[in-house]
């Protein structure tokens, strides 16, 4: 460890990573919000009809467990309930402003959850009523909420719900990026002008990757040509991320080229080259897969690999650039080891919930 330009911010050396990054990056990598966004947009535009049920089921499952990531990230998780009982949502003399974490965690997540759950219940309600009629199982009648068929009124309610739900879900899809861009301390995040739009585009890369994988698990033949639309969204999102990353490197060079800051920027920018290459690979593969469907099985893996590397760079490595912007502390290698079991636990819980929901809402059964 060197101190090239003075002894700066010693508290940073004690604990350079403030948000345990693995959990954070994981939990928002497939937050469910992105899948739900994709499902609702597809529903509103009457597209991907055979894929929407799968997106809803997997999306709702992962959206339900997403808070476990930030929860495990707290030093005092037993006090998480204070987020609701002592919400910093309204400015007072002692607590001016509004805390983004409170807004996202205590307001937008519950709101998004209620709306998404209601939408999913109503979406599958007629199918569940049919199941009730064939089995006479009262549980299915309960799940149908008394909705017997898909009427114009039901469609109108679903569309209203979809539009309203887009707001909290869109906020959740870019939650980490909003946290990073709103803080004033960390030099790299403060100077990453394309972070928010890039994160938003990346949301669709990951969502479509998860959707394609879900389609393969569900049965690629059953979804028909739906996959082509998802592949095109994946490609468009990937190339958008590439453009925004390249633009950011150009901005950094224009602003800080030749200054001591560029050495610290290089530590983060050096990872951008492989990230861009991976996004380009997934972009090309998604186009190829439109013609040769078998290739589409590779696309989720290249897409998620690109997103993982990109987010690791943004969330973890960017934090090693000090507040001064003049020193790069250097990544610690032991970050993953103790987080891995928690990470796997949350993923497993999400998959378990997906299975439960797929039993409650059979994708084959919808109208």
């Amino acid at each position: 460890m060197t101190y090239p330009l003075g002894y700066l911010y010693p508290n940073e050396f004690a604990q350079p990573l403030q948000w345990l990054p693995v959990l954070f990056s994981y939990s928002l990598l497939i937050s469910g919000a992105d899948l739900l966004l994709l499902a609702l947009i597809a529903y509103l535009f009457n597209k991907l009809k055979r894929t929407v049920p799968v997106l809803l089921i997997v999306g709702l499952a992962f959206y339900t467990v997403v808070l476990l990531g930030p929860l495990a990230d707290l030093r005092n998780p037993d006090r998480a309930v204070l987020l609701f009982s002592h919400s910093h949502l309204f400015p007072t003399a002692e607590n001016p402003g509004l805390a983004l974490i409170t807004l996202q965690g205590a307001v937008l997540w519950p709101l998004g959850f209620v709306l998404a759950a209601l939408f999913t219940l109503l979406y599958f309600a007629p199918a569940n009523y049919k199941r009730y009629l064939s089995t006479r199982n009262p549980f299915y009648k309960l799940l149908s909420l008394g909705v017997k068929s898909r009427t114009p009124f039901l469609n109108a309610v679903l569309k209203i719900l979809a539009v309203v739900a887009l707001i909290p879900l869109a906020f959740w899809a870019v939650y980490p990026a909003t946290l990073f861009t709103m803080q004033t301390a960390l030099w790299i995040w403060r100077n990453w002008q394309t972070l928010l739009p890039m994160y938003f585009a990346d949301t669709f890369v990951v969502a479509t990757a998860a959707a394609i994988l879900a389609m393969w698990i569900y049965g690629i033949r059953k979804v028909g040509d739906d996959i082509n639309g998802v592949l095109l969204i994946h490609g468009a999102a990937s190339i958008s991320v590439v453009a925004l990353l390249v633009a950011q490197v150009a901005i950094w060079n224009a602003q800080y080229g030749g200054s001591p800051y560029i050495q610290v920027i290089d530590q983060v920018a050096s990872w951008i080259t492989p990230v861009v290459l991976l996004y380009l690979v997934t972009f090309i593969l998604s186009l190829v897969a439109v013609k040769w469907r078998a290739v589409s099985l590779v696309v989720p893996f290249t897409g998620v690999a690109a997103a993982l590397l990109n987010k690791w760079n943004i969330i973890v490595r960017a934090q090693y650039a000090q507040r001064s912007g003049l020193t790069f502390i250097g990544p610690a290698e032991d970050v993953i080891a103790h987080e891995l079991p928690v990470m796997i636990g949350i993923v497993a819980f999400g998959i378990f919930l997906s299975i439960v929901l797929s039993i409650l809402f059979p994708a084959e059964g919808h109208d």
Binding site: Y9, R75, H86, A106, Q183, R323
Partner: protein
């Protein structure tokens, strides 16, 4: 010039309402890096090893001059850490403007650590919550000075109430040209530096 700095420091509304406006004046040219303030603070406040409520930075100017700059929580008027706290555990006390942490409400999310432009906050591994300088609020209302101020052998640190026009800190801030750290953040810190080198303002 000094008057401008003072008027920028505290919003007019706050100046009128508050009983006290605690502030610190630090003369960088008087600090020779003895670390007496760091040791006194750690002893007074049980600060664990490896983290700091106050610290001294050593800078070397282009001309080769070594300069020591004491730093700590700036008890900002417009504190970014207070806005970021999701439970209101971090708050700005209305009667004196001190930025404090309610240990019972801190959930340990780290948002305030990320929000502080000065690196003044840290997780206290003993208390299990976020910690920072309190301007020794347990001492100042007993008529004592903060531990760091009392320990400083050269009088580089001067502490007092800006609401009292006769206090040394008021006099110094009025008479001397001062600057504050990272003014571009809009945080309006309550620590006023004299002879602050540009190298220390990153």
């Amino acid at each position: 010039m000094a008057v401008v700095a003072l008027s920028l420091a505290v919003p007019v509304s706050a100046q009128a309402e508050r009983k006290h406006r605690w502030a610190m004046y630090i003369d960088v040219s008087k600090c020779y890096g003895c670390y007496a303030c760091v040791a006194a603070c750690a002893a007074e406040n049980n600060v664990p090893i490896g983290v700091f409520r106050t610290w001294i930075e050593r800078h070397v100017t282009k001309g080769g001059t070594v300069i020591f700059v004491p730093k700590q929580c700036n008890h900002c008027e417009n504190a970014p850490c207070v806005k970021a706290c999701p439970t209101g555990a971090t708050y700005k006390r209305t009667e004196d403007g001190l930025v404090l942490v309610n240990d019972d409400l801190c959930i340990g999310c780290g948002a305030c650590i990320q929000a502080c432009p000065y690196g003044a906050r840290f997780f206290n591994p003993v208390k299990g919550v976020v910690d920072k300088c309190t301007f020794c609020e347990h001492r100042i209302y007993q008529g004592k000075l903060p531990a760091c101020v009392e320990a400083c052998p050269t009088g580089a640190r001067v502490f007092g109430d800006l609401n009292d026009p006769e206090s040394p800190v008021s006099q110094l801030v009025k008479k001397m040209p001062t600057s504050r750290l990272k003014e571009w953040t809009g945080a309006e810190p309550m620590i006023f530096y004299r002879d602050l080198p540009s190298e220390a303002d990153l």
